[in-house]
């Protein structure tokens, strides 16, 4: 377990925070300009082909729009990248729709059912980028980010890839599905490029540091603030 890791790049999306710049400002200063218009934020995902964009879920678009902000400048081949998707609740809005359809006695929407699996964003992202690399999806309650980071670090430690895109996203849980004791501040999507660092400095971290996250209340936002 000798490797040390760094966040080489990252981006994120949420309502009122639709760029890395704005998200970073929120992380550091807590500022967020929000139109209280009741309209759900859906990222544009202009890089996606229309056919994929039409079908992609909100969770997928939050992740994909963030991902493209950190990869588009490379213009490189994304066909063999390793990805880890971390989400506590996955496609929770689609699940709510499906349960409603069943409750109303309607036939289930086949498209909704296909889109209801926890790892749906990884499917759309692989279709968009023609990526055939390793793809993992993790869920672990309040330790979901820690689990995703550990999976990503181990992929690098095991030399299965030099870098990993760690994608993190969650939506707000509909009231019909139950109570969340420590909800996220908002629906968001995030893409983080994880690579091996040259050595230990104030922004880098080891697998032991990641393991410690499982025993603390640190979430993805706390972690980013400390390591970017």
């Amino acid at each position: 377990m000798s490797s040390v890791f760094k966040i080489s790049d990252w981006s994120a999306r949420s309502k009122g925070l639709d760029s890395k710049l704005l998200f970073e400002k929120w992380l550091k200063e807590g500022t967020r300009v929000l139109d209280d218009d009741g309209v759900k934020y859906v990222p544009g995902c202009k890089e996606l082909k229309p056919a994929v964009r039409r079908r992609a879920t909100l969770l997928s678009k939050l992740v994909i729009d963030s991902f493209y902000e950190i990869t588009i400048k490379d213009g490189g081949d994304l066909s063999n990248e390793a990805m880890v998707f971390a989400s506590k609740n996955g496609e929770i809005e689609i699940l709510d729709n499906l349960l409603n359809q069943m409750y109303q006695g309607e036939e289930l929407s086949p498209m909704d059912f296909c889109n209801s699996v926890h790892h749906t964003p990884t499917g759309y992202l692989s279709m968009a980028t023609l990526n055939r690399g390793i793809s993992k999806t993790v869920s672990a309650g309040n330790n979901t980010f820690a689990a995703g980071l550990l999976e990503a670090a181990v992929i690098i430690e095991r030399k299965k890839s030099d870098s990993v895109y760690l994608l993190v996203s969650d939506l707000m849980v509909p009231e019909s599905l139950g109570e969340v004791l420590t909800p996220d501040p908002f629906a968001y999507g995030m893409a983080i490029l994880l690579e091996e660092a040259d050595g230990m400095d104030k922004n880098s971290f080891s697998i032991d540091d990641i393991k410690e996250l499982f025993y603390t209340d640190s979430d993805v936002f706390d972690f980013l603030k400390r390591h970017i």
């Binding site: 980028t129 990526n131 139950g178």
Partner: protein
């Protein structure tokens, strides 16, 4: 470094435990199908666990759901080995990485209906500890007292197989010394009605590779494995090793597999590379074999492209498609076959009318045993495939040390 399979337990429609599962599997007579009522009132044949699953101990009431009851019943089968690992390594060196696609969804379905009718949820419903995917691994960790990292892999039908690769990687990279891994999934309205909406449910028994095949029987169940960095004293050595695995994405469609099996080929090739093996060293493949038109057509092509001739079977005619747990249940079937004194291979049960429009595979007949040439070097290798929505593919390889 080898990742030892120190213990494993299994529950499915084959029955409870290794002995019962072995007896039913090699009888070549799949159990009777059960019935599941769909939303439209019609019945779908499914593979249900007929064992009466006891409620969880009161200490774990916040985790109470069928999925965790199944997990609890499987843990009982490996509890001596798990305790030995905890005693040897200490709780912080024991992690949990399990796979699931349903978690406590059956309980959520009931709670949702209750909410719609009454405006509140039942008192015994807890979204975070019953519904959430993370619930399975968190419950397993709490039940056994493991304090290492605990998380769930959820990639639909490849969940458990991927969990096992992750578990092995945690040990190989020194993160921990032991991992409880595998997967559990439960029958529920959403999956039965969902696959029905796709036209992928068979009206009869799952009939993989047949020209008459018409899709799945949804199943439920699970298998849990104790992976360890070394053999544990006073625990019988099964001489089984989780050799490794390969993963890939199709990059093709959100639910249909790549018709040429590109992703499936890639995951099998990567599994071989990960294990430093060549195709000729694999003596048996447990197919994903869901009996959908698309899967069987592409998987038969992919297997032939990579292996040419190799004995294979789909055991989903016995267990149904256990979705997120299928990789674990089928890995357990591989393990019990590898440990069988009579060297019997899991038979391929279908109506005998092979689809001539798909590539021909060498399928395991009833009572067929391992070929002698696979004992020459003292190691036997089985491969198991799991392919999921979103083109998310996984192939795992299990090794058995066996002189004769």
């Amino acid at each position: 470094m080898s990742v030892h399979i120190t213990a494993f337990g299994v529950i499915s429609s084959l029955g409870v435990g290794i002995d019962k599962s072995t007896d039913v599997l090699f009888s070549a007579i799949p159990p009777e199908l059960s019935s599941y009522e769909k939303s439209d009132g019609s019945q779908a044949p499914v593979r249900r666990i007929s064992y009466d699953l006891p409620m969880l101990d009161k200490r774990f009431s916040k985790y109470e759901c069928r999925n965790n009851r199944i997990a609890s019943a499987i843990l009982k089968q490996i509890e001596i080995s798990v305790k030995a690992a905890m005693d040897k390594y200490g709780p912080k060196e024991v992690a949990v990485v399990a796979g699931s696609s349903t978690s406590g969804l059956d309980k959520t379905e009931k709670a949702f209906k209750y909410y719609k009718t009454n405006g509140n949820h039942p008192d015994d419903y807890n979204f975070e500890t019953q519904h959430s995917m993370g619930s399975l691994s968190e419950f397993i960790a709490k039940k056994v007292g493991a304090e290492g990292p605990a998380y769930t892999i959820s990639t639909a039908c490849s969940s458990a197989a991927k969990a096992m690769i992750s578990a092995a990687d945690l040990i190989k990279s020194g993160v921990c010394k032991a991992v409880i891994t595998g997967g559990v999934d439960t029958l529920c309205d959403l999956t039965v009605n969902g696959f029905s909406s796709l036209g992928q449910l068979s009206e009869g028994r799952l009939n993989s590779l047949s020209k008459n095949r018409s899709g799945l029987n949804i199943g439920e169940g699970g298998a849990l494995f104790l992976f360890t960095a070394e053999n544990i004293e006073n625990i019988e050595n099964l001489n089984l090793v989780f050799k490794g695995g390969g993963e890939s994405m199709d990059a093709y469609h959100i639910s249909a597999p790549h018709p040429e099996g590109l992703g499936a080929k890639l995951s099998m090739e990567r599994a071989l590379k990960d294990c430093s093996l060549v195709p000729a060293q694999i003596s048996y493949i447990n197919l994903h074999g869901t009996a959908t038109k698309a899967n069987d057509a592409m998987e038969s092509k992919a297997v032939n492209d990579v292996f040419g001739s190799v004995l294979c079977s789909s055991t989903k005619s016995f267990t149904g498609h256990c979705l997120g747990a299928s990789g674990a249940v089928e890995a357990a079937i591989c393990c019990l076959s590898l440990n069988d004194e009579l060297l019997r291979l899991p038979p391929h049960i279908f109506d005998g009318e092979y689809d001539e429009d798909i590539e021909l595979l060498e399928i395991v007949k009833n009572e067929e045993t391992l070929k002698p040439e696979f004992f020459k070097n003292g190691y036997i290798y089985f491969l198991s495939n799991s392919f999921a929505f979103g083109g998310n593919n996984c192939s795992i390889i299990i090794e058995k040390k066996r002189a004769s």
